[in-house]
């Protein structure tokens, strides 16, 4: 039976958060594969985002190790009811119209991070256990940083596009 993230212990929450970053890295790699033959620039962007997700996962791994050592949780993401931070490239006809660009990849990532931040923040509000609440807040803050980073990349990309087009 699936459980809500709110029902988990802090250790389990951190474990799942770590798994989510790893899962997202795999999803971005798959998107990169999808776009490889279509738009190498978008594929490169997705690979870059996969690397970042792995880095996020590594940092959460360090945090987990500091708090819980080598203890492993017997819990997979599939056992969680909510879908947290799943990046979805939603334009089902993007290849047909030849419309996908780098910024679309960044937007997919930013949207996933935004949803994750909002979700963790909501969980923090609802949590009754102080330790769980603190962890959710910490995770929301981390996701907020990721979101800001992608927003910055999106802005840089737009500026680069404008520059390439010779616009002010």
């Amino acid at each position: 039976m699936r459980r809500s993230l709110a029902e988990l212990s802090p250790q389990e929450i951190l474990w799942v958060a770590l798994r989510i970053e790893e899962r997202n890295a795999r999803i971005y790699e798959n998107y990169a594969e999808m776009f490889e033959w279509y738009e190498p620039d978008v594929a490169r962007t997705f690979r870059e985002m996969a690397r970042e997700e792995r880095e996020h996962g590594r940092r959460l791994g360090v945090m987990y190790a500091e708090r819980y050592g080598d203890a492993v949780c017997d819990l997979t993401e599939e056992e969680i009811r909510e879908i947290v931070e799943a990046p979805v490239f939603e334009d089902g006809e993007a290849f047909i119209y030849d419309r996908a660009r780098r910024r679309h990849a960044f937007e997919v990532g930013r949207e996933a991070e935004r949803r994750a931040r909002a979700f963790y923040a909501e969980m923090a509000e609802r949590a009754t256990d102080a330790a769980v609440r603190a962890l959710f807040r910490e995770l929301a803050e981390i996701e907020s940083e990721h979101e800001a980073l992608l927003a910055q990349k999106l802005a840089e990309d737009s500026a680069r596009d404008r520059e390439e087009r010779g616009e002010p």
């Binding site: 795999r26 999808m34 599939e78 006809e93 290849f95």
Partner: protein
């Protein structure tokens, strides 16, 4: 009418999953499907080409297997059953891109999967962005109809058309990736795509959450069970039938059996407010326009018009092409623009005229489809009995395979045909009106403005219906 209901009766979200039946899912997941259907049609089209060649060069005339099967049986089935009910099911079994796809895959039955991909033979180039739309298909279909007067009386014309399409499909499949020919070039594909948005059947994802968690989307990149979507869709995300060729590869590749074939209410995809474009708007209007021209030319009382279309004289033929092209590319779109301009004015909302034009064009789809169904009735009911003749003597060599070679011409239901046509048209109009009001609400956010804005479009649809009814019985 109730919001969210088709004709105020059926919820737009209603679905009945056909693949819930294990035998249906097994059938669609088998690699024999659609290959078996394609192979049957390859055989049939070989006969059609032979009939077009031998019958065309040796014994000209319309008592020909190719003409009868393609322009009477296939066309009528396509317009009356396949597209409105089964969406792009013709594309499922179409033999025209068969050779090209075989060459790309270098496999007929099983799946090539190497190094995490389905390798594809050929240059695998990307189709130019400027042509990644329906414009080319619009023009090619219109140009094909310039020769409509020949197709039904000269078997060689059908032979040349089909041979050219097959050759083009093979050539493009060696240069460009996947089903580029079907997506951007095939003259039949464009209107099937647009009209399939009205269809009662769809292939869709069942539970998007499963796809959101799924790390390896075989439906896009392929796997050892099947090919990544040859129609370049992202099967886990697409929301309308326009470009889904119903090849069922996504049912084969999905590890979670999360793709489904559903029955659904008619016309729901016409309400999907994304990816609408001027190319599709023109497709809708061109199809309606050609239906009107065909009625007037081939089923109307004007013999002169038919002579022009049949190229009895060169000047007459040039006149036909000129009138036909101007009506479809300029006059009808301009008339529609006038009504749309009135709609925008009546609504009094600051919505760009292009957006209003494009959005409302989708409301013409049910009426256009009904016009084509009515036109098809005008073909099959008087001429269907010819089919028995040509089945027995496909090459006009004097055979009598089934004992029906001398079956007399027997028109059926021609007495009530105009009424059947009118009934069909009125049903189409009803759906068009329903869609028009819903699109008005999407286009003009204020409810009262939406009603005011819909009225001129209702006027356009009504005028087209009256015009077509006059052609049926006038």
């Amino acid at each position: 009418m109730r919001e969210g209901y088709v004709l105020g009766l059926i919820p737009e979200t209603w679905r009945f999953e056909l693949t819930r039946f294990p035998w249906v899912r097994r059938l669609l997941k088998s690699r024999w499907m659609p290959l078996a259907l394609i192979l049957f049609n390859v055989f049939l089209f070989t006969l059609i080409l032979m009939a077009g060649f031998f019958g065309g060069l040796v014994v000209p005339g319309n008592y020909n297997f190719g003409i009868m099967i393609v322009w009477i049986l296939w066309w009528v089935l396509l317009m009356t059953v396949l597209v409105p009910v089964l969406s792009r099911f013709w594309c499922t079994m179409c033999p025209l891109p068969f050779l090209g796809e075989w060459l790309q895959r270098l496999r007929l039955f099983d799946v090539r999967y190497e190094k995490g991909r389905n390798p594809s033979f050929g240059l695998n180039k990307r189709w130019p962005k400027s042509l990644s739309n329906m414009w080319l298909m619009n023009i090619l279909f219109l140009v094909t109809t310039f020769a409509s007067g020949f197709f039904t009386v000269r078997p060689a014309a059908t032979f040349v058309l089909l041979t050219a399409i097959i050759a083009l499909a093979v050539a493009l499949s060696l240069i460009y990736r996947a089903r580029t020919f079907c997506l951007y070039v095939c003259p039949v594909s464009g209107f099937q795509g647009l009209y399939s948005n009205f269809a009662l059947t769809e292939v869709r994802v069942k539970d998007p959450e499963i796809c959101a968690r799924h790390k390896q989307k075989g439906c896009v990149v392929g796997n050892e069970r099947g090919y990544g979507c040859p129609w370049l869709l992202l099967p886990y995300a697409f929301r309308r039938n326009t470009y889904c060729g119903m090849c069922f590869e996504c049912l084969k590749t999905c590890e979670y059996d999360n793709m489904a074939v559903n029955l659904r209410p008619p016309g729901v995809d016409l309400l999907v407010d994304e990816k609408r474009g001027l190319d599709e708007a023109y497709k809708a209007l061109i199809m309606l326009g050609i239906a009107i021209v065909f009625f007037a030319t081939f089923q109307g009382p004007w013999g002169t018009l038919k002579d022009w279309a049949n190229a009895a004289t060169l000047s007459g033929y040039v006149t036909f092409i000129g009138l036909h092209a101007s009506w479809n590319l300029i006059v009808l779109p301009a008339i529609f623009l006038l009504f749309v301009w009135l709609a925008r004015r009546a609504a009094g909302q600051p919505v760009p005229l292009k957006k209003v034009y494009v959005n409302f064009s989708y409301a013409t789809v049910p009426l256009g489809l009904a016009a084509w169904i009515a036109f098809s009735l005008g073909i099959i009911l008087p001429n269907g009995s010819y089919l028995l003749h040509v089945l027995s003597d496909p090459f006009a060599w004097g055979w009598d395979l089934f004992g029906t070679a001398h079956f007399p011409w027997t028109p059926i239901f021609t007495g009530i045909m105009p009424y059947l046509m009118i009934l069909t048209l009125l049903v189409g109009l009803l759906f068009s009106l329903d869609i028009a009001f819903k699109i008005a609400r999407q286009t003009f956010p204020e409810p009262e403005a939406a009603v005011r804005g819909a009225l001129p479009v209702v006027g356009f649809l009504g005028a087209m219906t009256v015009g077509l009814m006059w052609l049926f019985v006038g």
